[in-house]
Symmetry: C2
Subunit: 324 residues, 2 copies
């Protein structure tokens, strides 16, 4: 970790000269370290997956970047103000949400992103798992510190889902549907899910962890029956870095608007992308099941469900299944 700033600086210099060589002297001067230190940094970058040519008397040239969600890659040219100004990338963790939660307890700053190539215990809602094969998907968690009561959090999950939808649309031209409150569907199959966790008291949230999983290049053998991936739907390999960056940028905008109370347009977009509004659904909650007509998503992101007797209830969470 202590080498990271130097590695980033070297990458930055190499990237600034995509066709030319950057001399060892120039790197030494910029970093104020010895030739052998530069060599060590180059080796450490190579071990991360960067392809760096070394040409005697001319210097170094970056010819290939790894298809890995490294902090160096994610933060490179990332156009956000709040989200991802600090990124911790891992090769394998139990759960990025758990890592981010611990960071939250320890006071890490708002917008910190924890990303991992794979998860051994990827978490879904209600103790379910999220299959997280290494190198195939995007698995990350965003630490947030909104000054809000716990009941405002459902809207945040919906905005996270919207940011995934926007990013998928931007990168693949496919338009996913949002299955309220936290799933994204392509052709009726789940391509992404959100797990929002929080530490809170009654009056306000201490911090929130928004965990996002996207099946990017995941192949069918890893996926549950009702799951799909961008590769399956598009037939093409999708580079994860631009997708992850697009997602973080979309969320950055939505979250900053959310903090200022400006969510009307975003909610309208959620309604348009909704897979369930205007249909009959069952809602399974921790205490039982309800059946009704999905009327609307209200200004707080809650689902308005109308029962046969005409009574409408505000639903804050649950598993939704469409009825025929």
């Amino acid at each position: 970790m202590s080498e990271k700033p130097s590695n980033e600086k070297i990458l930055e210099m190499l990237r600034s000269e995509p066709t030319e060589y950057v001399s060892g002297e120039a790197l030494c001067e910029a970093l104020r370290v010895s030739r052998s230190a530069i060599w060590k940094h180059i080796e450490s970058l190579r071990s991360l997956g960067y392809t760096i040519e070394a040409f005697p008397h001319r210097g170094y040239r970056l010819v290939g970047c790894p298809d890995k969600l490294l902090s160096e890659e994610l933060m490179w040219n990332l156009k956000t103000e709040l989200i991802g100004r600090q990124v911790l990338s891992y090769d394998m963790v139990a759960s990025t949400n758990d890592v981010a939660y611990d960071l939250g307890k320890k006071g890490a700053r708002e917008g910190t992103v924890v990303v991992s190539e794979g998860q051994t215990k990827g978490k879904g809602r209600l103790g379910r798992s999220w299959v997280s094969p290494k190198g195939k998907g995007i698995y990350f968690s965003i630490l947030l510190r909104p000054i809000l009561p716990p009941q405002s959090i459902p809207k945040l999950t919906l905005l996270a889902a919207l940011s995934v939808a926007r990013a998928i649309r931007q990168i693949t031209n496919l338009t996913p549907q949002i299955r309220w409150p936290n799933d994204l569907l392509l052709n009726g199959k789940k391509v992404s899910g959100i797990l929002t966790e929080m530490s809170a008291e009654q009056d306000r949230v201490h911090f929130v962890v928004v965990g996002i999983g996207v099946n990017v290049n995941t192949t069918a053998e890893f996926l549950p029956k009702e799951g799909t991936s961008l590769k399956i739907e598009t037939g093409s390999f999708i580079s994860r870095i631009p997708l992850a960056q697009s997602l973080l940028e979309a969320f950055d905008t939505l979250y900053r608007d959310f903090k200022e109370g400006k969510t009307d347009e975003a909610l309208e977009e959620c309604r348009k992308l909704s897979a369930i509004l205007g249909t009959h659904v069952t809602v399974e909650q921790v205490h039982g099941k309800k059946e009704g007509y999905a009327v609307d998503i209200d200004s707080e992101g809650a689902l308005l469900l109308r029962f046969d007797d005409g009574v409408t209830e505000r639903i804050l969470s649950g598993d939704l299944v469409k009825l025929r």
Copy 2:
């Protein structure tokens, strides 16, 4: 910690013979340890504050118990089914809520109680502090694992407040008022407060920590202007152990009923003890202030506040101040 079961066993045997001596042999046999081991246990009990007579050729006799909230004392004859079947007692911690929260993350069982003689950073709502001078009050935190969504938690805070009210009434004959949602008042001054914290996802709570602070023998120099203690109000020293036990027993009953959805009677008692129903109040929340008439507490423990324009709003938390 490893000695604890032996210490408890010795205390139990000594307590079963309040006037007679218990021989060293009998203790050795019961615990299957040597005479010198028994002696070490007796010494460790004495260091905790127990007064134990040792009489040559006759044995040991318990003549005095410490006025300390030790797990041995709290659990002795505690009539609960769920709450306090595991008690961790400390001399000094930063915050019992923080200790209990960590235990919650690590999977400690429901009903675990963390108690401390004093707190260096006793926590109140919204980052406020709770003055916790050593040996003067009751400072404890109860770990709960209800299978419920986060929005059900406000009712739990109210039930915790009710259990404090019942315990104070039982021990002192004074009847405190409940200032919704989490304070107890005697003569309009704060004698106890509750801080409920939780770890949750949108659908359900992972665990809840109910922190309870009671000013028992706290003297005026420790208290804020609007605070009081049982000693100040009664003029007498109040033994903390029976009060703490009464509180845990009251909460045990209320919590088990809560889990079964039976809270109507408890809420009716809360309404009767309410310091604010039927009065005009201001409610300060994280985002601004409201003024209205406190109409009722609903079946979920929320406050119904009616504004001048006749509109009624459900309030889930906030700071209440009575208006004249």
